[in-house]
């Protein structure tokens, strides 16, 4: 299964709407980095509104993809993390402190603009 990555001007938008298995998550990591490289994208929003579980592995993949994209010069914002998911992540002991987040897609795009000072 592949997660679609949409291009909008110099941003990439992703909405994850499936229950992520490990393989799909790793594939997504690779796909996103290639897309950033191909398109020279400066910002990425990954919307997690429809994701109702993030375990330690998926959290690691998401955290890593933020760091990897950052190394390539693209800023990533995670948006729409559900209340139940946020509570579960803290119980698990995963704080994701260095990961930029926003309430929803709209706020995510505003945050990207601010970070990139456009």
């Amino acid at each position: 299964m592949r997660i679609p990555i949409l291009k909008l001007h110099n941003y990439l938008l992703i909405s994850i709407q499936i229950d992520l298995d490990d393989q799909t998550a790793i594939q997504f990591q690779e796909d996103l980095l290639s897309k950033i490289h191909e398109n020279g994208a400066s910002g990425v929003v990954i919307d997690l509104t429809s994701v109702d579980i993030i375990d330690s592995f998926i959290a690691k993949v998401l955290g890593d993809v933020v760091t990897m994209s950052d190394l390539m010069g693209a800023k990533v914002v995670l948006t729409g993390i559900q209340p139940a998911v946020a509570m579960t992540l803290i119980d698990l002991g995963i704080h994701m402190q260095d990961v930029p987040t926003a309430l929803d897609l709209e706020q995510g795009l505003i945050k990207l603009r601010q970070e990139l000072e456009e």
């Binding site: 298995d21 579980i53 959290a59 559900q82 209340p83 139940a84 119980d91 698990l92």
Partner: protein
């Protein structure tokens, strides 16, 4: 105990299968969305441990019904190498697989009861319970 079902863990996708079934059972018992997420996440961690460290095993679910409260029990069983130092794997940040190390201590925090039994060379059995509040 009035209900029991198991998911065999053989391939990566079974981790998703186990947590989806567990979540369904939790919803039927009457757990809210936050506890459903906690239960599903705990199942995911337990199933992944089986897949990573033992190769194969199973995750079983049991609906618990007592006079004054209801709950769900999840039992993760494998015939893998077992755990040498249980106290070590229960420490936050300890991992032998390069993961986040959130594994077992995280599962313990997500659930109400946590019991682990492991024998070197024989396997591991972890039983966790969440009660409906």
């Amino acid at each position: 105990m009035d209900f029991q079902s198991c998911v065999n863990i053989k391939k990566e996708w079974d981790i998703v299968g186990a947590r989806q079934l567990g979540r369904d059972i939790a919803r039927k018992i009457g757990f809210g969305t936050v506890d459903q997420a906690r239960i599903a996440t705990a199942i995911s961690e337990l199933a992944r441990n089986i897949y990573l460290y033992a190769g194969t095993g199973k995750v079983c679910f049991e609906a618990l019904e007592e006079i004054d409260h209801k709950g769900i029990a999840i039992v993760a069983i494998d015939n893998g190498p077992g755990i040498q130092e249980i106290s070590q794997v229960m420490e936050d940040g300890f991992s032998t697989s390069g993961g986040l190390g959130a594994g077992l201590p995280g599962v313990k925090r997500l659930m109400d009861e946590f019991n682990i039994h492991s024998e070197e060379g024989k396997g591991t059995e972890i039983r966790v319970v969440k009660w409906l509040r």
